[in-house]
């Protein structure tokens, strides 16, 4: 299908581009590492209440680092003017959106895998027994985050105070996503089964699908002059 091949091409381009310099990936991973370490100092593992905030810590690291990455993804395109090259191609704007979004998703996931490893080590959490449901929740959460993050970073790249603007746009919208992800992750790490987080999963899926559709349709307005 033409759509899929175009999306694949865009993802291939972003992936190849990033792998050469690794700038974005490295800064994302370093940043999330720092966040985890800081939380480690603030809430040393072993303290009674720490278990309750552990999922929050993980997601704070994911989110702040993810924002950093997404902000750069369109920022770079805009500065070099390469976004226009992409827009000149005979592809629908929605297709471009999906291509960028998938790329962002992949990068964010790579950062999250690294972060999860560090997190497990420093907070003495063993993710392996619950790996599959955990990955499911993380995937759904990350997907929603990149869905709105991509379109908002396309917008904020064109404004003053880019990164601040991106945060202001993403956070209020991502609230249901963040709540659902953190709560669901907490339950999973506690050993609960998927059926117990059913309502959270519903919220995640609803968020993902709704905003994927809306962003897909709205992206053309954001990039045309």
């Amino acid at each position: 299908m033409n759509f899929i091949s175009k999306v694949r091409t865009i993802v291939w381009k972003d992936f190849t581009h990033e792998l050469r310099s690794k700038e974005m990936l490295i800064s994302m991973c370093v940043f999330s590492f720092l966040v985890i370490i800081i939380f480690n100092f603030a809430f040393p593992p072993g303290m009674g209440d720490v278990d309750r905030i552990i999922p929050g810590i993980l997601w704070v690291a994911f989110i702040f680092s993810g924002l950093l990455g997404m902000g750069r993804s369109f920022g770079v395109e805009k500065d070099k003017g390469s976004l226009q090259g992409l827009l000149l191609c005979p592809v629908g704007r929605g297709t471009i959106y999906v291509g960028k979004m998938v790329g962002n998703f992949i990068f964010m996931s790579m950062m999250e895998a690294f972060t999860l490893a560090i997190f497990s080590l420093l907070f003495n959490v063993n993710p392996f027994p619950v790996l599959i449901p955990l990955v499911l929740v993380i995937v759904l959460g990350t997907l929603g985050f990149t869905v709105v993050g991509t379109i908002f970073s396309a917008m904020s790249a064109n404004t003053r105070a880019r990164d601040v603007m991106l945060s202001m746009l993403v956070f209020p919208i991502a609230v249901p996503l963040i709540i659902a992800s953190i709560k669901a992750t907490g339950k999973i790490l506690d050993g609960k089964s998927l059926s117990e987080i059913y309502s959270w999963l519903k919220i995640l899926v609803a968020f993902d699908l709704t905003f994927l559709l809306v962003s897909y349709l709205a992206f053309q307005f954001v990039v045309e002059e």
């Binding site: 209020p172 709540i179 919220i203 709205a218």
Partner: protein, 227 residues
């Protein structure tokens, strides 16, 4: 709008507001458990209703703007958002004022109040976006965000409600017993606030139109100068 219509409108707004104040303080009974502080409820709920209504207008105007590209929809969206934020702020101020004497906390994580807080952030971000974006893109970006923001509200409300049923609230969300007199008062207040809302909206739109006209005249003047 024609002169006499606008004057009539101003007067009816004033009249209903006065009527509402009378109803709130002299007509409606004092609630048994909460006392006189409960009367803030009328302002609180009316403001919430109007802010929601305002943001709904932003939503519709944003869609129409993207469709038609007519600046008047953008002006409507901007004006409605600004006034919506004002009413929203009122909700967030009256909430704690009500909560503190009754339940001894400044903030209750009531799902509706919390959703209002998020709504406030969304539309403040909307206004910031308008400020920070460049000339040609401001309207388009704002319209897209206005649409996404509004669609987000039901999802946010659901998420917060599920969260809250797991962590019971400090307070039960509706702890007041309502009499019919109170209901009437509430309706009168909402009507008064609605008229006030439209009054402010018209004023804001008029202001924006005047600003546009000035800008256009200045540009024409410059154009003439250049020739």
């Amino acid at each position: 709008m024609r002169r006499w219509v606008s004057i009539a409108f101003e007067f009816s707004t004033l009249a209903t507001m006065l009527g509402a104040l009378y109803a709130i303080f002299l007509y409606a009974p004092i609630e048994k458990t909460m006392g006189i502080i409960q009367k803030i409820f009328y302002f609180h709920v009316s403001s919430a209703f109007l802010s929601f209504f305002a943001f709904f207008i932003v939503f519709v105007a944003s869609i129409l703007y993207l469709y038609r590209r007519d600046r008047k929809w953008d002006i409507l969206a901007q004006s409605s958002a600004e006034i919506g934020v004002i009413f929203c702020t009122l909700v967030l101020i009256t909430g704690p004022i009500w909560a503190k004497p009754i339940w001894n906390v400044w903030w209750t994580w009531d799902p509706r109040l919390t959703t209002t807080l998020i709504l406030w952030f969304i539309y403040v971000s909307y206004l910031m976006l308008r400020k920070m974006a460049g000339e040609g893109q401001r309207e388009t970006f704002a319209a897209v965000f206005g649409i996404i923001g509004f669609i987000n509200v039901p999802i946010t409300f659901l998420a917060i409600r599920i969260w809250r049923t797991i962590h019971p609230v400090v307070v039960r969300s509706s702890g007041i017993s309502i009499t019919s007199a109170m209901l009437n008062t509430l309706i009168i207040t909402i009507v008064a606030f609605t008229l006030l809302f439209f009054h402010l909206l018209m004023a804001r739109i008029r202001l924006e139109r005047m600003r546009e006209d000035c800008g256009e005249m200045r540009a024409l003047w410059e154009e003439r100068d250049n020739r």
